[in-house]
């Protein structure tokens, strides 16, 4: 790849937007130092991002501004030690209390990250397992922007759904997944406040999957006029 091709590949943009990995970043740093055109293109991309964000800024209310600056002031003063005039013994008491807070915080954080890690790890083991088939459900006519993906475990028959792009369901309504079995829709569960992969009902057999917007709690039969996505299982 020539330098010009590199500049026109979008690699720089992926770094500026924070979507690149360490290898991409290292490559960019190296090329920036070696080629002034790359450095210039990088600067241009950064300016573009800043200008775009500036043009799409959403002002924050004066009330929130006051509150935030107050919080920040509190943070700054705590850290710079303004107003700390305690006697030594008291200082150590505070130090002990602070250590305790840190220990508790540390334990909490490791628990949180462990949970988060296992959640994510579980998600990936599902989507990457060889016995799991992936069925893409694109939007139907008029809902072309909608998209969902079903991951169907061919062994356990578990069904997982990723709502890639479904608008928020209106109040009092929920998305419901249907398995189409020999031409008949079978309820496969409603989407209930889950992020990433949602586990729904197990489905033993299906030729296609579809999602409709139903009343909260789901329906017995799908409202076909409210269908948003549909995808066939590759046979």
């Amino acid at each position: 790849m020539t330098i010009q091709e590199y500049i026109q590949s979008g690699a720089i943009e992926s770094c500026v937007l924070g979507l690149a990995d360490e290898a991409d970043m290292a490559e960019l740093q190296r090329l920036k130092l070696a080629h002034s055109e790359v450095a210039a293109a990088f600067e241009a991309a950064e300016s573009w991002l800043e200008q775009y964000a500036g043009a799409h800024a959403v002002p924050v209310s004066a009330e929130i501004r006051a509150k935030m600056l107050d919080t920040l002031r509190g943070n700054i003063e705590n850290a710079t030690g303004i107003g700390v005039t305690y006697k030594r013994s008291r200082f150590y008491r505070y130090l002990a209390a602070a250590s305790l807070v840190l220990i508790v915080l540390g334990a909490g954080m490791s628990w949180y990250y462990h949970r988060k890690y296992t959640e994510v790890a579980q998600d990936y083991s599902i989507v990457s397992s060889a016995r799991v088939i992936k069925i893409s459900l694109p939007g139907v006519a008029g809902k072309e922007n909608d998209l969902a993906t079903v991951y169907w475990d061919t062994l356990s028959k578990d069904v997982y759904l990723r709502a890639d792009r479904l608008p928020k369901a209106p109040a009092g309504r929920q998305y419901q997944l249907w398995a189409l079995v020999d031409g008949k829709p079978v309820d496969a569960g409603v989407l209930e406040g889950c992020e990433g992969l949602c586990r729904l009902k197990t489905v033993a057999k299906a030729q296609a999957f579809a999602i409709t917007l139903e009343k909260a709690g789901g329906s017995v039969t799908p409202t076909l006029s409210e269908m948003c996505v549909l995808g066939k299982v590759a046979s």
């Binding site: 992926s14 979507l19 990995d21 959403v58 002002p59 924050v60 700054i76 922007n145 608008p167």
Partner: protein
């Protein structure tokens, strides 16, 4: 302590960074007044709830202040770094319990009734999502998974069962196309 920062001023990026590192309160007021709205816009492209976004913005500003020492100007501009912190914080928040609860119980929030579908947020709205929707399908998916959902390229490659190189090439092409759409 605030001698250097009297009156309305304009700082160069270097000056601002230096003052932020010295933890000058007035430097934060300046940072806030010049960047908070832009960062708020970034957060709102991911979290379409103004009240929740305000909480995240606060968290982001505290993070910027706390992590000022880890910011390396050689790797990029201050805003690029702050954008990354804001985007990461917003994505983390969408994975949290509070967002799920809010999403489920948001029917009465006046914000949501005023919000069109697709993450737009009213006046001066971030129309990044609608620009993304003008991309072709395979480009949309990659931008959505990486920029809005925060998956790494390696994770996307695994999920879509594509070689990492292909994901990178496609994502890069998608970003270029998106940049053209936005700039036009």
């Amino acid at each position: 302590m605030h001698l250097e920062l009297k009156g309305p001023q304009k700082y160069t990026e270097e000056e601002l960074i230096r003052l932020l590192r010295r933890q000058e309160h007035a430097a934060f007021v300046y940072l806030y007044d010049n960047y908070a709205a832009a960062l708020n816009g970034v957060i709102l492209t991911i979290i379409d709830d103004r009240h929740f976004a305000a909480d995240i913005l606060q968290e982001v500003l505290v993070k910027i202040w706390r992590q000022m020492d880890s910011y390396d100007p050689k790797r990029g501009r201050l805003f690029t770094w702050m954008h990354q912190i804001a985007r990461n914080a917003a994505i983390d928040a969408t994975r949290g319990k509070e967002w799920k609860t809010r999403k489920n119980s948001s029917s009465l929030s006046e914000d949501h009734t005023a919000l069109p579908d697709g993450g737009s947020s009213g006046a001066g709205a971030p129309d990044l999502r609608s620009s993304v929707q003008r991309l072709k399908e395979d480009h949309q998916v990659l931008v959505d998974m990486s920029y809005f959902q925060g998956f790494t390229q390696a994770e996307i490659a695994k999920m879509l069962n594509l070689p990492l190189g292909t994901v990178k090439t496609r994502l890069r092409a998608a970003l270029l196309k998106l940049k053209q759409l936005i700039t036009l």
